[in-house]
Amino acid sequence: MFTDDDLVREIQSAMRRDVADLAAPANLLPELRKRYSRRIVARRVAVISVPLMVAAAVGVGVMVELGPSGSTVQNAAYVTNQVSKAMDNAGQSIIFITTTETGVGKLSTPGKPATWNSWYRADNTASRTQALVDGRPVWEESNDLNRHTTTTVDHRNRTWTSGPLLVMDGDRTGDLLTPTQIEQAMASGRLSIVDQGEPVDGRPTIHLRGDDLAVGGHPMGFWVDQSTYLPVRAEYQRGGAWDPPFDLTWLPPTPDNLANLTVPIPTGYTQLGVGPK
């Protein structure tokens, strides 16, 4: 008769033998780096457009905090209301973000920066990212939630792929803030007016910040244009420090702007059999 100790020893031994030959996939870290970068890019619009739309929908009040300079900051309820109106009319708009990667990055090298342009549909159903070096596109990717596809064009080797949607790993709710979470964040007063924001493109703004608002539980902030009440600048805090803010440009859903959401596949490029992973 086996004792429990005997049984446990046998089980331990069997489990260890069963997995002894397992090793981590060679591409684990490179793949993680790639997916992480994509998530960060995807998260930017998710936490900018969704929260504001939810804020607009629920119309909850935010805490009023007067700026440290004692400057006049508009009433929080008024700001929320104005943002709500702005977002009502902007749901189909396209948000354009451009950033520059320097040093040794995904595509940049010392002395040769890479420019990353991203277009997002405000309802977060489609996006495109384009990387340029020396002004020429080297890599592009578009994601279409409705078609559930990701298309990638690699100009370096003149190839393209199309496969299942990558952005949220097929589990879009996994790390995205839900409307309920945003609603709770706002209702609990974790989103507050910091101060009159610095002008963006010469236009006055209102600076807002909130704890645990961004995907991953990071604080985030944004500046809303004081005349249009659209967010025109955003920032994230990671590791206790605020990353440099980046600007958002809101584009109307014209045919030309909508076309920017899809990567064009140049004639003569070769389709690779397997979609991006």
Binding site: F2, Q12, A14, R17, D18, L28, Y36, G217, G240
Partner: protein
């Protein structure tokens, strides 16, 4: 948009151990790799919270992912083994073994998900009751009772196979 160097160091040092845990939790190596990558990605995205105890955090995510996978596939699980490469131990040669590797693999594969979790975490990862409770997001009392239940069920499953073998042997001879 780059991974924290400390996270990369963590991946380099602990990904094999986590992959092995994942493999035992889901019984499929391909799925285990997918789970590992997703768990590590989520750990990276929440690194500010996870950095003090990254392995515990990643393991907790792994357990959750394994549960999600199990929920999605439980209809199929009822019809087939989690690991199609596992043969039915009743067809294997048990003549010289009371409990053998294949039988134990099979027994683990047919254990209910929570019981398999407790066996893997307690006896493969050598976690304490408290750490197992943390990984499973349950109480220490539940871990203890589930450990006892899991061992009882394993003993029963293995005993049944043993009985099957003996019956088969009697018919042959």
């Amino acid at each position: 948009m780059q991974l924290d160097p400390a996270f990369e160091e963590f991946v380099a040092g602990r990904s094999v151990a986590l992959l092995r845990t994942a493999s035992l939790l889901v019984g499929d190596r391909g799925d285990a790799e997918d789970l590992l990558q997703t768990a590590l990605l989520r750990t990276a995205l929440k690194w500010r919270r996870a950095r003090d105890h990254p392995e515990a955090y990643a393991r907790q995510v792994l357990v959750n992912l394994a549960r999600d996978r199990w929920r999605r596939s439980r209809r199929r699980v009822a019809e087939q083994s989690l690991n199609p490469t596992l043969a039915d131990p009743a067809q294997a040669d048990h003549s010289n073994a009371v409990v053998n590797q294949l039988a134990i693999q099979h027994a683990l594969a047919v254990l209910p998900q929570r019981l398999r979790e407790v066996i893997v975490l307690r006896f493969f990862d050598d976690l304490s009751v408290a750490d197992t409770a943390l990984a499973m997001r349950t109480s220490e009392g539940t871990v203890k009772s589930q450990t006892s239940r899991a061992l009882r069920q394993l003993r029963q499953i293995l005993g049944n196979h043993q009985t099957d073998d003996n019956a088969e042997a009697n018919r042959v001879h």
